[in-house]
Symmetry: C2
């Protein structure tokens, strides 16, 4: 038996186009003699469809599209297609209105429907908001081969691997008890740094524990804040990997099932090194957000600093250097090198630039506010004003020419509020909002591994917002190595202040950072969607009250 | 037996202060001879604590605070106190880490702990993210009186009343089977227009159906986007209401249990009329957001239009007219009446104003952007620029003097994107973001019911953003009566385009509005928290993808 893995990049809600893509691949697979086509979780609507699922018309349209796809499907090919299915008994039984389902298409019919069992409802996941858990084991026979079907989270509850249970049941155990020959896992698992290694270690462990070959099919492509990295793979019952589809791009691999094991002929794509992988994920995130929102071009402010330098490089790789416009907006507080460094960067990348000095606008605001501000000292209000002038200029150009404005703040500064709401936070997408400053440096070093992409002076000079004379980030913040470690403990590990101090940090600094994280919540609530690359991003999975007094 | 209902306004996460408030009321209640004190759901931490619940230190501190409260409690008083309790078996059984719990304090001990059964996980509610469902019926005896305990959603699943089930079980049925004498429902139920009537009709129905007296205790006060309206009440087994605590303010009522029925001596507070209730809710929302974030003063832009007029009135009632600053920012496109109307409004309300004409700043931007914009026509970019200049001026004053900026957009314009991101959308709180334009008019008419608060000309003149000469809202949008009906059908009722057309609307208009709602999602994602007053607000309960192609 030949099985084709379709690692797809659907656009959320674009049912017709997603179905068309599946059909095209299905026809090609059938022509190559494939018997079974595997697609990711919710492949018809894309993951995550979020509150589109609450629209009855959307659910109806998805069903119609599935039926049409079944009718059009190659006759000799079976297919597993992800869709959201109405739960007909919801109101009578007091259940959720939908199932997260997989349809088995066979002989141009919807032959069986499988329901996801384990519904993630943590971090960015809200599946209990929409879906009822399935209760029956999901399996079917194809040419006498007995196949178990699991959907994403269904395989993320191995208490041996994790050292704890997250759900009461482990669906693969039920499938193995039914003597399935192998199990497929149809997923939409978002990228985080190091996640692919975890997936492979976990499924290797389960393959050996349950004596069960497993095919793991992942979605690829970015949808708003979530990047799906693909990296679909196949392990045999001995736990050995026999196939891996490339990360970060749509791709189809065909494998064979022979003598109770998988035989794979496509080359096993490597897992990218951490920096290469992270960079490729960010490029994919920018590319897909722009494409799926209909932007061909993007702009960003180039300050001469390292954050905007990295984002410019990402944007150029995502949309083509010729489609990126960098705006230089020097003020009287800007150093000479901020201009020269930004221009050198633009030259290295091959992107266009425009320069708009902000001093005249600063002066006009100063004059307009002179009466109201009279007798006060230069302070945060005036610093923010510069940032807001720049943000307003960028949005003006964005609105005028329909360029996507990409905002350049990193996770460290967003965490402590070292950024200006309605200023440098302006933009449709925050490309590196989940990348800590120390990783920003690491990515730039990596970009420069063979030739200078990011001008060296941008990497080596002390970081500064340049909003007042001689200002340096480290006047208000600890060194970024220290800051990032403290932030990681607060944000990701949820450590207490005592724990963080016990780990060797200065209590005064820890208390200050903790307080800054808390009081910056109002800024983060209004920030642009930021590409998630860690296990705990400030985004759809960060749900912190603003008006609160804890900590 | 005497029972005191404590309708509390906790601050999220302020464990010590919330406990202190409970203790003060407990001592007073005990002095008045009360036997039992009832507090709302999660009364120790306030509702909703959201992701604070993910911090182990927070859960530990809540437990300590509860133990201290028990130790300090009046000896002869029993109390039901809401808190989040660790689920000790979570990792072994694969369950959620916490329970949404009520502690029974008796004789200075934590005598029993009750777990919430039905966990809302729709709209703004995310309880399955944190909590495991309780399994055992919650009840206890006090002086031989047998009392059933339910927590908020536990009583929102009467299939007779709703015509459908939302959960598989109905906890009151189990309690009645155990022969409890009466049931208490400890709630944190957010305000929406008309919700109090629904609560009372529902519990009246259940009291009669189950032959069961019910005490309903609600939280009061606002936490970010959610307003809790109080309105705690008591129904006897005949379904007759015998007590109602006033809406929109903290208040304690004491009732007696005699001969199998409740006897109440406090006056039954009336339910406010719809406009009075909505206005009071918005005032509470602004007041609590400011107070709980530490602001004593607020500012807003006064355009001379009806939205800012209404918000100015709300702000003045919330914080005191002397604490409100209105900023007039006329442009060359502003009509004369926009200034005179705004000044008249300020005089009527007794708030301060400052005037900052924006033409000089407009000119400086025009000059700065002249080269980049050369050869283009005046358009959206230039319109937005005016709005962003105003937003920047307001934020400058906000930053300088630590005033809370309140933003003034209504639900209709936020729905269709008739608002400028980083411009008029700027602010810490969006006071009327969930109030449709037609209700904005209704509220202003209501404010003027005895004397002119909102200048008549503000109500009668055609609405205009005044961003270009002679511009009127109705140049780009249908009449607000039509727009609001269409929006209600799209946003709240989730009707299909065909259904909306069948209801009598023009297809071209419906398609246009539907498209506008979709493409404005990126603006709403970055909007300030908006006070929720309808069943479907654009806020924490609205989770729509941005980069999507449905509809």
């Amino acid at each position: 038996m030949k099985i084709t893995i379709a690692q797809l990049n659907p656009t959320i809600g674009d049912l017709r186009s997603n179905a068309q893509t599946i059909l095209t691949i299905a026809i090609e697979a059938a022509n190559n003699g494939a018997n079974l086509l595997l697609t990711p979780e919710l492949s018809l609507c894309g993951y995550p469809p979020r509150d589109l699922l609450l629209k009855p018309e959307f659910i109806d349209a998805m069903r119609s599209e599935l039926e049409q796809l079944a009718a059009d499907f190659p006759e000799n090919l079976s297919g597993l297609i992800g869709f959201a299915e109405r739960n007909q008994n919801a109101e009578e039984k007091g259940e959720k209105p939908l199932y997260n389902s997989i349809a088995l298409i066979q002989n141009n019919q919807i032959k069986q429907i499988f329901h996801k069992h384990l519904l993630p409802n943590y971090d960015v996941f809200d599946e209990v908001r929409y879906f009822q858990s399935g209760e029956l084991p999901n399996h079917f026979k194809l040419d006498d081969i007995h196949i178990g079907v699991t959907i994403c989270e269904d395989l993320w509850n191995d208490e041996e691997f994790w050292g704890k249970r997250a759900y009461g049941m482990n669906p693969i155990a039920d499938l193995v008890a039914l003597n399935v020959d192998f199990t497929v896992n149809l997923s939409a698992s978002p990228y985080t740094i190091g996640k692919q290694q975890i997936r492979e270690r976990m499924l290797t462990h389960m393959a050996i524990r349950f004596d069960q070959p497993i095919i793991y099919v992942n979605q690829v492509g970015a949808n708003d804040d979530l990047i799906f990295d693909g990296g679909s793979f196949v392990v045999n019952r001995d736990g050995l990997l026999c196939d891996r589809v490339p990360q970060m791009k749509p791709c189809n691999h065909t494998i064979r099932w022979e003598n109770q094991k998988f035989v794979c002929t496509d080359p096993i794509a490597p897992i990218l090194d951490q920096s290469a992988e992270l960079y490729a994920a960010l490029v994919l995130g920018v590319q897909d957000y722009a494409r799926k929102c209909g932007f061909k071009q993007a702009l960003l402010g180039l300050s001469g600093g390292i954050d905007s330098a990295l984002v410019a490089a990402i944007a150029a790789d995502a949309l083509g250097a010729e489609n990126i416009l960098g705006i230089l907006m020097p003020s009287p507080y800007s150093s000479d090198h901020s201009i020269s460094d930004a221009k050198q960067l633009a030259e290295n990348l091959g992107i266009k630039t425009q320069t708009v000095p902000i001093e005249p606008v600063m002066k006009s605001y100063d004059e307009s506010l002179a009466e109201i501000f009279s007798g006060t000292e230069f302070g945060i209000a005036e610093e923010n004003l510069q940032s807001r002038i720049r943000g307003t200029l960028l949005m003006g150009i964005s609105n005028k020419f329909n360029y996507l404005l990409i905002t350049t703040g990193n996770k460290s500064e967003i965490a402590v509020g070292y950024c200006t709401l309605y200023g440098d936070m302006n933009g449709g997408l925050a490309a590196i909002a989940d990348v800590p400053k120390t990783k920003v440096y690491a990515l730039c070093e990596w970009l420069n591994r063979t030739t200078e992409v990011i001008p060296t002076n941008i990497i080596t000079k002390p970081p500064s917002a340049e909003l007042k004379p001689g200002q340096l980030d480290q006047d208000s913040l600890p060194d970024y190595e220290i800051l990032d470690d403290i932030l990681d403990r607060i944000v990701q590990n949820r450590e207490s202040l005592d724990q963080i101090v016990a780990a060797g940090h200065d209590r005064t600094i820890v208390e200050k950072i903790s307080r800054l994280v808390k009081i910056a919540e109002f800024k983060r609530r209004q920030s642009a969607p930021g590409l998630k690359v860690t296990d705990r991003a400030f985004g759809t999975g960060w749900r912190m009250p603003i008006a609160q007094r804890w900590g």
